[in-house]
């Protein structure tokens, strides 16, 4: 607690300093209306983990106002915290997956991913079954398959998204601490703190991180108004984003969107700390593997043969 308080005080004085400094610059430049063109409050916003309760409330309300106006519907943004005694794990049955990509588009809708340019947090790779039987080499995978019908003859499918590694290279390299692992094991990003250096993208072994190369575009009628501040709220241009295990859902006891939408039940999700959970059953009774195990990133995303 004491540490938190100290951090908040440090944050407060930092805000004061920057406020004065930027006000000074603004006055010097003397451009009226510069304040509207440049969002000072976002510019000055503290790191998510250093926000006091009041500051967090302010931030949430400001974002709600901003997005409600932009998308012309009532948007609610919360910051629901982790549940005690829960660490999430994911299981994917590659013998069931048919490569229909419903998870990909379900994820896009749930998590307000940009439609132009298209950002997909889940990528489904298609492999020749023959080849995979002799071992998976990701270079053999094709994410751009386009068949009339899936599953295509002689193919198998491997969907990949953020693996929520226990020893996550991406959080280690981030120069500003804008991405970190929450107590429930979810690797999250503070979209207001990320400076867009893309070091995390260079360090992620799973290609799970995506950059907003331009201002993301989402049609107003397709926006999902139930948002989490470090989850599916719309992202600004110039920041990195990725799967958050649908933090806005799972922390309220719901399944991630991809689990719900999967038509063949290939996707499983649960609490790794609960010995009676489905994910624990899978780990104990099925043949599982993780991607690039040799890198020792210890993913919490397990593939299994059902």
């Amino acid at each position: 607690m004491a540490g938190n308080k100290k951090a908040n005080q440090r944050g407060a004085s930092r805000r004061e300093f920057l406020k004065t400094a930027t006000a000074g610059v603004g006055a010097m430049v003397g451009v009226p209306g510069a304040a509207e063109a440049f969002d000072f409050e976002t510019f000055l916003q503290n790191h998510f983990r250093e926000l006091s309760e009041d500051e967090l409330k302010d931030v949430l309300q400001r974002l709600e106002r901003k997005y409600s106006k932009k998308y012309r519907k009532t948007v609610s943004i919360d910051a629901t915290g982790p549940i005690d005694g829960v660490v999430y794990g994911y299981g994917l049955d590659i013998s069931r997956c048919i490569g229909c990509r419903r998870c990909v588009y379900g994820c896009v809708e749930e998590n307000n991913q940009s439609r132009d340019p298209e950002i997909h947090w889940i990528r489904v790779l298609e492999f020749e079954r023959e080849k995979v039987l002799r071992g998976i080499n990701l270079e053999d995978g094709n994410p751009y398959y386009d068949h009339e019908q899936v599953p295509a003859e002689g193919k198998i499918y491997l969907p990949v998204a953020c693996q929520h590694c226990e020893d996550s290279p991406c959080t280690n390299v981030c120069p500003t601490g804008a991405t970190w692992t929450e107590p429930d094991g979810i690797v999250v990003i503070d979209y207001d703190w990320c400076i867009g250096c893309r070091y995390c993208m260079a360090s992620c072994p799973y290609g799970a991180r995506h950059f907003n190369w331009k201002e993301p575009e989402i049609p107003a009628d397709e926006i999902n108004p139930d948002m989490h501040i470090i989850g599916n709220r719309p992202r600004p241009k110039g920041v990195v984003e990725k799967c958050s295990f649908c933090i806005q859902r799972v922390r309220k006891g719901r399944y991630p969107a991809c689990v719900e939408v999967c038509p063949v039940g290939a996707r499983k999700f649960g609490n790794l700390l609960d010995p009676n959970s489905e994910i624990r059953y899978l780990l104990e009774n099925k043949r599982t593997f993780v991607l690039k195990a040799e890198l020792n990133t210890r993913p919490k995303f397990f593939y299994f043969y059902g």
Binding site: R14, L138, G177, Y206, K237
Partner: protein, 406 residues
């Protein structure tokens, strides 16, 4: 006040010096200013429209900017390493060599900082990196380490240059016992900036092409074959347009040093080739792309062979005595070494590391026009900074700019 007064005079005098010159000088400055402004406009375009103006994408998320950054850190590091032989061999005017090398370093570091800045998605949030104000992820993130060593190195180089110049300006002799330890301190720091920059890539276990212990030694050897080459060219230009005298003997010594550096650089490259191709793992796919191309795309392989050709020819020129004693040939060798290493590090190191991407997709990256314009702008700004600083330095060395009291 007593020290402020001469400093004010010094600043005013410097401004007077840089605003004087012949036609060619004005044309050169005008060109650099124009290109810098062009770069600034291109950066503005990128800032407003996003990095979509580059050809970087999720598959290849770092490109021309970071490649230039890695290359220029090498130039900054290597220029100063010339200080060792300059001191050991007692080359002619030691002070001039040290000073010009330091100026090259300063300009290179400024360009490094520019290149990192233009690569950011949200450069306005740069303050998030600063201690106390922001939240630098120290000691975990090597990017923070890099910023740390680069700024310290810049500060120490800047101090050395201003100290030497200001003493000269005041007509006082510089205190060898005071400045020599500082110069020697800057040498390990020079090595460290490039080592840390190599670690920035080496530390990524996700990228097998960079995950090799020889990357830092290779960074240093390629830096030592390119940085001094630039200094050698600069020294020759300075000798012609300025009033300093640098004996040919000093230039040939640098060329000899370059021959050793390039030999080691080529040896390291060979070592890497052996480990990638004699017992190729799945990860050798990056090396295959590097040397031969994949799926019929040989874009990167062309860079590789071009750079190898440049480096080998440069090595021959530096190594064979009668060849390096011919100044035009020597200059050609320097240009080749500089260009060869620029291609090798700027694109040859970076792109195969990121292609194929983490899920095996091959996206062939080539910088966009906007990226090139930004890059040219940064190089021009660096050259402008160097020209102005060098002009002042030369005027002081030649005694044209002196404190009135002396």
């Amino acid at each position: 006040m007593k020290t402020l007064r001469p400093f004010w005079d010094f600043t005013a005098g410097s401004v007077a010096v840089v605003s004087r010159g012949n036609r060619y000088y004005y044309a050169w400055i005008a060109l650099l200013v124009l290109l810098s402004l062009g770069g600034l406009a291109a950066w503005g375009n990128q800032f407003v429209n996003g990095l979509i103006t580059s050809n970087m994408r999720d598959q290849v998320s770092w490109g021309f900017y970071i490649g230039n950054f890695a290359f220029l850190v090498g130039v900054a590091a290597a220029a100063v390493v010339l200080v060792i032989p300059a001191y050991v061999y007692q080359w002619g005017p030691l002070k001039e060599v040290v000073m010009l090398a330091e100026l090259v370093s300063l300009a290179a570091i400024i360009m490094c900082i520019f290149f990192v800045t233009v690569d950011l998605g949200r450069p306005q949030l740069f303050w998030h990196l600063m201690p106390a104000l922001g939240n630098p992820n120290f000691p975990y993130s090597l990017l923070v380490w890099d910023i740390l060593v680069l700024t310290s190195y810049w500060a120490i180089s800047y101090f050395i240059v201003t100290y030497l110049l200001f003493k000269d300006y005041m007509g006082q002799k510089y205190n060898v016992n005071f400045i020599m330890p500082v110069i020697f301190l800057s040498i390990p720091l020079a090595i460290s900036i490039h080592t840390v920059t190599a670690f920035l890539f080496m530390g990524l276990k996700a990228r097998p092409f960079w995950d090799t212990a020889i990357l830092a030694p290779r960074f240093l050897s390629s830096a030592f074959s390119s940085g001094p080459a630039l200094v050698l060219i600069v020294l020759q230009i300075m000798r012609r347009v300025g009033s300093i005298s640098i004996p040919n003997k000093a230039l040939f010594k640098i060329a000899e040093f370059l021959a050793y550096a390039m030999a080691i650089n080529l040896f390291f490259l060979g070592v890497e080739v052996f480990s990638e191709f004699y017992s190729p793992t799945q990860h050798a796919v990056h090396a295959r792309l590097h040397w031969f191309g994949l799926d019929g795309r040989t874009d990167i392989a062309i860079y590789t062979w071009l750079s190898l050709a440049c480096n080998v020819i440069a090595f021959v020129i530096f190594a064979v005595r009668p060849l390096r004693y011919k100044l035009p040939l020597l200059s050609a060798g320097c240009v080749l070494a500089f260009g060869g290493v620029f291609i090798e590090k700027g694109l040859g190191l970076l792109l195969p590391g990121m292609t194929p991407d983490m899920l095996g997709e091959i996206y062939i990256y080539n910088p966009s026009l906007n990226e090139l314009a930004v890059g040219v702008g940064v190089w021009s700004a660096g050259a402008l900074f160097f020209t102005l600083m060098a002009k002042v330095a030369m005027a002081i060395s030649a005694g044209e700019l002196r404190h009135r009291g002396t």
